[in-house]
């Protein structure tokens, strides 16, 4: 089985108040569709991240619902208006009860 999990976030550690910063993230997940077969001719079950939720200082920032059309080991970038210093937290959940989360801190001046 390929690696799974290992969520990562890349974001600037400092920003000016009001600045729009880009947040980039990655997680290992097979994102299988349930439609393709393995070498033995058996269908490979669907196994994929379904939701990603993002909070900043515990307050909801954005979230996404994903289908099996998202590529393996999904990458996702989005933006945030830097208003105050704090912690961004992302949580990924897959259809097999897998839950992973990761945090990144930013100082806003």
């Amino acid at each position: 089985m390929a690696a799974i999990g290992n969520p990562m976030i890349r974001m600037a550690s400092h920003a000016k108040k009001g600045q729009i910063v880009e947040v980039r993230s990655l997680i290992m997940n097979p994102m299988t569709t349930g439609l393709s077969k393995n070498k033995a001719g058996k269908l490979i079950p669907a196994h994929f991240i379904q939701t990603v939720t993002v909070t900043f200082n515990k307050k909801p920032l954005c979230n996404v619902d994903w289908s099996t059309a998202i590529s393996a080991n999904p990458y996702m970038a989005f933006k945030m208006r830097a208003v105050e210093s704090g912690t961004l937290e992302m949580t990924w959940k897959d259809n097999t009860n897998g839950v992973w989360s990761s945090k990144a801190a930013i100082t806003v001046a």
Partner: protein, 577 residues
């Protein structure tokens, strides 16, 4: 008819190289007898541009395409670069038979080749570059548009190190890439970091998965007190047109939006007075990019080996050139750069007619040195050609025709495919094809020959997909190769149609192709890792066994009648038009 080189020369009344015009005679045929390479100084910045030399250290023959079709659907009917032969000469008011006529058109190629001689050669290019550097001093910038590392035996066998040495001797300033990447990301990074002195720039190469720039996107340098920005654009379709496994962690693309961002950054943040793009997009893609991105003064283009006439093309406020291939031309821009704007410019394409430019001794010595270990192997004579052999054309070049013939016979297949590459120099009738010449058509890092059993439907799909890379009305789908070369496959082609509808009456060996029937097809240049004998071994073996060869008959398609009168077709009869 079988013909030895000596017979042929006798027939043509040519006594070897002495049959060429003397340099002074060539100069006088240029008009007025003055030195055609004398360019008056102008302005405060001089750009020298070469591109797509395809590792040809020595002079070669290079014929412009006889077919380079642009369609009405593409709005490229008769628009440069889709203009060839007489039509091109007429449009630009160039006299046939002159050195410019020889350099810019395919008309009377073998006659004019005998008259003027080979083109290019790094020792000849070096002479001219040194001369201009002496003339203009620190005003000069030398830019290399890529595809310098691939196309010859010695570049393949030294993994491009011979070319890096030549680039360093030329003192190139900037470089971008395409075939360079087929040596693999590690080799590219090693040579760029440890060997090449020029700066490699690319705004359109990013890491997978994090999407971060792999190379510096641009460089700013001060020339004559003005800030000159050079943005690099490597070949956008590298992992599509060439195997992706060479660069598994890099993604490419055109990225016009990011290009705009880079231009704005150069102008606003760095206060650049002029913005240049050193591009390996290809002519059609450059023209579209110039229509979308504001603020580029000049695009120095390459890739498609399409010299767009003697003058730059202007799209909005951007000047675009495409400086041919194989060292055939050095382009020179003399610019009057003012504060934040280009006040004026002079432009010259300088054909590198090797008989007219003495060798630079330093470069000549270097070339001899790097070739010495391979000289014997390269010189092996294989066969004499009765026909003019060339590759560059929209459909089966004559060199590809004999390559397809060789693949079919050696691999015992009813048909053959060969990639529509645009590099690969010419051989004149009566010349001996050597091992070096075979490598000049085949030297790639994925040369394995394969035999594939295609269904008729798959065969058609392959051809339709490739045709769409050539004739799609959206320039951003034009990858810059020609139509796939075929052996013993006949078809009717309508370039003005859309994908899946361009090819009709598809036949193998004269018989209509059936969708479900399987056909055994030999080919090379696979996109996946495959096992197989290198194509040069198979081609050389076949040539040795033939002794004399000729590219007849050719498997050219029939073109549909809507192509009649297309200025991108020099010899319509070849296509039943």
């Amino acid at each position: 008819m079988n013909l030895s080189r000596r017979d042929f020369m006798a027939m043509m009344g040519i006594a070897g190289a002495t049959g060429f015009l003397s340099p002074s005679a060539i100069a006088s045929s240029w008009g007025s007898g003055k030195d055609p390479y004398e360019i008056p100084e102008y302005g405060n910045v001089t750009l020298l541009h070469i591109t797509d030399t395809h590792a040809q250290l020595l002079p070669v023959w290079w014929r412009e395409p006889g077919t380079n079709i642009g369609t009405r659907e593409q709005k490229e009917w008769g628009v440069t670069p889709h203009m060839v032969g007489d039509k091109k000469l007429e449009y630009y008011g160039i006299k046939a038979g002159t050195p410019e006529g020889y350099a810019l058109s395919c008309m009377d190629f073998d006659t004019l080749a005998h008259k003027y001689g080979k083109i290019g050669g790094y020792a000849h290019i070096a002479t001219l570059v040194k001369r201009y550097r002496e003339q203009v001093g620190k005003k000069a910038i030398l830019l290399d548009g890529g595809d310098a590392w691939q196309g010859s035996a010695t570049s393949l066998w030294t993994k491009a190190e011979d070319m890096v040495g030549a680039q360093n001797l030329l003192k190139e300033d900037y470089f971008v890439g395409h075939w360079e990447f087929t040596y693999g990301a590690d080799r590219v990074e090693y040579l760029l970091k440890h060997k090449l002195k020029a700066k490699f720039l690319s705004q359109n190469v990013f890491t997978i998965p994090w999407d971060e720039p792999v190379f510096d996107p641009y460089d700013i340098r001060e020339v004559s007190g003005r800030k000159v920005a050079v943005i690099g654009q490597s070949f956008p379709f590298t992992p599509i047109a060439n195997p992706a496994y060479f660069v598994p962690k890099w993604s490419f693309g055109i990225h016009p939006g990011h290009m705009q961002k880079m231009v704005d950054e150069c102008r606003q943040k760095h206060k650049a007075d002029i913005v240049l793009v050193l591009s390996h997009n290809g002519a059609d893609v450059d023209k579209k990019m110039a229509s979308q991105v504001n603020g580029i003064d000049i695009i120095l283009g390459g890739h498609t080996h399409e010299i767009m006439g003697p003058r730059p093309v202007k799209i909005n406020n951007t000047l675009i050139i495409n400086t041919s291939t194989n060292g055939k031309f050095l382009a020179r821009f003399d610019l009057d750069v003012g504060k934040g704007k280009l006040n004026g410019w002079r432009f010259n394409y300088l054909p590198i007619i090797s008989n007219m430019i003495p060798e630079d001794q330093e470069m000549a010595d270097y070339i001899n040195k790097v070739r010495a270990p391979y000289a014997k192997k390269l010189a092996e004579p294989l066969a004499v050609t009765e026909s003019l052999l060339y590759r560059r054309d929209n459909f089966n070049g004559t060199f590809d025709q004999i390559l397809c013939d060789a693949l079919r016979e050696e691999m015992d297949c009813e048909a053959a495919f060969s990639p529509g590459f645009r590099w690969g120099y010419c051989k004149l009738p009566g010349e001996t094809i050597t091992m070096e010449d075979v490598m000049g058509q085949t030297a790639i890092t994925y040369p394995q020959v394969t035999v594939t059993e295609y269904t008729g439907a798959e065969l058609k799909n392959v051809m339709e997909q490739v045709a769409d890379n050539l004739f799609n009305p959206n320039p951003y789908y034009i990858q810059g190769g020609d139509m796939i070369r075929v052996g013993n496959i006949q078809y009717t082609m309508n370039p003005g149609e859309t994908i899946d509808k361009r090819i009709t009456d598809l036949r193998v060996g004269g018989k209509m192709v059936q969708a479900n029937k399987r056909y055994k097809v030999a080919g090379w240049g696979a996109m996946q890792k495959v096992e197989g004998t290198p194509v040069w071994d198979i081609f050389a073996k076949w040539l040795r066994s033939k002794k004399t060869v000729s590219a007849n008959p050719r498997d050219l398609p029939v073109l549909t009648k809507n192509m009649a009168g297309n200025p991108g077709i020099a010899f319509p009869k070849e296509y039943d038009l």
